[in-house]
C-alpha cells in the first residue's frame, strides 16, 4: 500500500518536472560569445533583438553575453562553452572553431552577407593633445625616437589588424616589395617600448601611464575614448590608408542543433543587418555596412582609403600562416 502511494507521488513529481521543463522552454535563451569592446554594443542590440523576436514570434528570448579576448573566447567554445553564436574580432578565430572542433562548416563566412561581418572598423592613431610629434601617417611611426604603443599580435587577435594595416601601407608605398614592407614593419616594432598582451593593456599604458606618442587602436575604441575624454588629452589621426577590420559573426551549428535554437540564433545574426541594428552599431562607432545608415553617420568617421585582408593578404588563413605563426614574419623581425 505504502509502496503504491510512493510510486504515485514519484509519478506526479515526474509529470510536474516534465511540465515544468516544457513550460521553461518557452523562454528561449541564447549565449553570444564575443570579444571585449563589444559589451555596450550588444547590450543595446540584445534589447532591440528581444523586442523584434517577440513581435515576430511572440516568444521571449533572453540573451546572455560572454566577453573576453577573441582567441580566448574561441578556445572556450572549442573546449565546450555552449555559445549559440560567436561574434569575434577576426575570422581566424572562427576558422579555428571549424578546423579544430568541427563546430561549424569551413565555409561559414559565406553564409551571411559581407563576409559575415555586419559592421566594420579600421585602425587609426590616437596621439596626445596638439599632436606634438606631428604624426600624420604610417611613415611617421618608423622615425627614430617615436614611441608607438600596440599590443603583441601573437597574443592579441585585435592587434593583428594593426600589424596588417602597417604592412598593407608599406606594400603599397614600396611597389609591393615584400622585403621593404618587412623592413618597414620591423622598424615600426622597434619603436614599440611595451608590447602588452591585449588591447586593454595597451590602452592603459597609453592613456593612464602616459607612455608613448601614438596608440594604434581600433577606430571604434579610439572614438569612444575621445568621446569619454571630450577632446581634452587626445586627438585622433587618420592615416592615408588603413585596413578594413571585419569582425565576423557566426552561428555555432553543433551547439544550436543540440539546443534547438537554430531559428532564433540565425535570426539574431541576420537582424544585425537591419536598419535598426546598423544604427546601433554606428552609435557605438562601428562602421555600418548598410549604405543609407552609413551615409547618415558619415560625419563621425574619418575619410581614408581602406584595403581588405582578402585583397592584400589573400584571407586570414594565409595572413596568419605567413605573419603570425611560429617562425613567421613577426618572429623573424625580432629573431635575426
Amino acid at each position: 500500500m505504502k509502496i503504491q502511494k510512493a510510486i504515485k507521488y514519484v509519478g506526479v513529481g515526474l509529470l510536474a518536472t516534465l511540465a515544468g521543463s516544457t513550460a521553461g522552454a518557452k523562454t528561449l535563451t541564447l549565449l553570444n560569445a564575443s570579444y571585449d569592446p563589444t559589451r555596450e554594443l550588444y547590450q543595446e542590440y540584445n534589447a532591440a533583438f528581444a523586442k523584434h523576436w517577440k513581435a515576430q514570434t511572440g516568444e521571449e528570448v533572453a540573451i546572455r553575453q560572454s566577453h573576453g579576448g577573441s582567441g580566448k573566447q574561441a578556445r572556450a567554445v572549442i573546449d565546450g562553452l555552449e555559445a549559440d553564436v560567436v561574434t569575434l574580432a577576426l575570422a581566424y578565430d572562427i576558422d579555428a572553431l571549424s578546423a579544430k572542433a568541427k563546430l561549424l562548416p569551413a565555409d561559414w563566412q559565406q553564409r551571411l552577407p559581407d563576409n559575415s561581418a555586419p559592421f566594420t572598423s579600421t585602425i587609426v592613431f590616437l596621439v596626445r593633445k596638439g599632436n606634438p610629434k606631428a604624426v600624420k601617417d604610417w611613415d611617421d611611426l618608423v622615425k627614430p625616437g617615436l614611441a608607438v604603443i600596440t599590443p603583441n599580435p601573437k597574443t592579441s587577435g585585435g592587434a593583428r589588424w594593426n600589424y596588417l594595416a602597417a604592412w598593407a601601407y608599406a606594400l603599397k608605398h614600396n611597389g609591393n616589395d615584400e622585403a621593404k614592407a618587412k623592413d618597414f614593419v620591423a622598424r615600426l616594432y622597434k619603436n614599440v617600448p611595451v608590447l602588452d598582451s591585449g588591447a586593454r593593456g595597451s590602452t592603459t599604458t597609453f592613456v593612464q601611464r602616459g607612455i608613448g606618442d601614438v596608440l594604434l587602436a581600433w577606430e571604434n575604441e579610439a572614438l569612444l575614448a575621445l568621446k569619454e575624454d571630450g577632446g581634452q588629452e587626445f586627438v585622433l589621426v587618420a592615416p592615408s590608408l588603413s585596413i578594413l577590420a571585419e569582425p565576423p559573426v557566426a552561428v555555432v551549428d553543433k551547439v544550436v542543433e543540440r539546443r534547438g535554437t537554430q531559428a532564433v540564433a540565425g535570426e539574431y545574426l541576420k537582424y544585425l543587418y537591419s536598419d535598426e541594428a546598423q544604427a546601433i552599431a554606428a552609435k557605438h562607432f562601428y562602421r555600418p555596412r548598410n549604405a543609407a545608415v552609413a551615409a547618415k553617420f558619415s560625419a563621425q568617421f574619418p575619410k581614408l582609403a581602406l584595403v581588405t585582408i582578402d585583397e592584400v593578404f589573400g584571407g586570414w588563413k594565409k595572413a596568419q600562416e605567413a605573419h603570425f605563426s611560429d617562425g613567421g614574419v613577426f618572429d623573424q623581425i625580432f629573431v635575426k
Binding site: A96, N152, V192, T205, D326, F334
Partner: protein, 272 residues
C-alpha cells in the same frame, strides 16, 4: 611506521587511500593531461618547440629572475620574519597582516599597481628615470613582480619555526662566550635552515609559473622580456595546444627537479 606493529593512530589505510585518491584527482590527472597532449608531437617537433630562440630566451629570463627573486626573498623574508617574531612594536599586527597581501591580491591587480608605480610617470619611476634607471618594461620589472608575489612564502614558512625557537639556547650560547655573529650562524640559522630553504623553494616555484602580475610590467618584448608562461599563452592563441603543453612540460620538469633537489638538500642538512 614499522610494518610489524600496528600504528597507534587509527584509520591509517583509510587516510592513506583518501590522500592518494585526492592527490590523483586534484594534481596528477590534470598534470598527466600535459603529458598526453605533448605526446601528440613528434620528437623533432617537441625539440624544435622547446629550443627555439624565443623560448630559450624566455627560460633564461624566467628561471634567472625567479631564482634571483627567491634569493632576495630568502634574505629579506627572513629579516621580516625575524623582526615580526622577535620584536614588539606598535603596528606589529598590521605589519604582519601586510605580509599576506601578495597572496590575497589578484595577480593582475598587483601587476597593474606595480606598473603604475614603476613606469616613467609613476611615483618611483619618475624619480629613477631621470637618472637613467628604468625598471618597468625591462627584466628588472619582472624581478620586482616576482619578489612581490614570493615574499609571503618565505616569511610564512620561517615565522613559526622562529617562534618555536627557544631563546634559552641563544642565551646559553651567549653565556658560553659565543659572539652575536656566532650565535646567529651556529645556533639560529641551522635551526631555521630547512624552513628557510622550503620558503625559498616555494617562492621560486611560484615565480616560475607566475603570469598575471608579470605581463603588465615586463613589456613583453620578444627575446628580451618575454617570460615562459607568456609564450605558452601565445601558443594557445595560435591554437597550438601541443606546443603550449610542450613548453609547460619543460617548466614542470625543471621545477620538479629543482624542488626535488632542494628537498634532498633539506633532508641532508637536517641529518647533519
Amino acid at each position: 611506521m614499522s610494518s610489524g606493529k600496528s600504528n597507534v593512530l587509527p584509520g591509517f589505510r583509510l587516510a592513506l587511500g583518501f590522500t592518494l585518491l585526492y592527490l590523483s584527482l586534484i594534481v596528477l590527472i590534470p598534470l598527466s593531461a600535459i603529458f598526453v597532449k605533448t605526446a601528440t608531437l613528434t620528437w623533432a617537433q617537441f625539440w624544435g618547440t622547446i629550443t627555439s630562440a624565443r623560448v630559450l630566451a624566455s627560460y633564461r629570463l624566467s628561471f634567472g629572475m625567479s631564482a634571483l627573486a627567491a634569493l632576495i626573498n630568502g634574505v629579506f623574508g627572513l629579516l621580516v620574519a625575524w623582526v615580526l617574531v622577535r620584536y614588539r612594536f606598535p603596528g606589529r599586527k598590521i605589519a604582519d597582516a601586510f605580509v599576506d597581501l601578495p597572496f590575497a591580491l589578484p595577480t593582475a591587480v598587483a601587476g597593474i599597481a606595480l606598473t603604475a608605480i614603476y613606469s616613467k610617470h609613476g611615483w618611483v619611476g619618475s624619480l629613477l628615470e631621470p637618472h637613467g634607471i628604468k625598471l618597468a618594461f625591462t627584466h628588472w620589472g619582472v624581478l620586482i613582480a616576482l619578489v612581490f608575489i614570493g615574499l609571503p612564502f618565505v616569511v610564512r614558512t620561517v615565522q613559526p619555526v622562529l617562534e618555536d625557537l627557544d631563546r634559552d639556547v641563544e642565551e646559553a650560547a651567549a653565556s658560553l662566550g659565543a659572539s652575536r655573529w656566532q650565535t646567529i650562524t651556529r645556533i639560529v640559522l641551522p635551526a631555521i635552515g630547512p624552513a628557510l630553504l622550503t620558503g625559498i623553494a616555494l617562492s621560486f616555484a611560484r615565480a616560475i609559473g607566475e603570469y598575471g602580475s608579470v605581463i603588465f610590467i615586463s613589456g613583453n618584448t620578444p627575446l628580451k622580456t618575454e617570460i615562459t608562461p607568456l609564450l605558452i599563452v601565445m601558443k594557445l592563441e595560435e591554437y597550438d595546444y601541443a606546443a603550449a603543453t610542450a613548453i609547460a612540460l619543460v617548466l614542470l620538469v625543471a621545477s620538479f627537479a629543482l624542488l626535488f633537489l632542494i628537498n634532498v638538500l633539506q633532508a641532508w642538512s637536517a641529518r647533519r
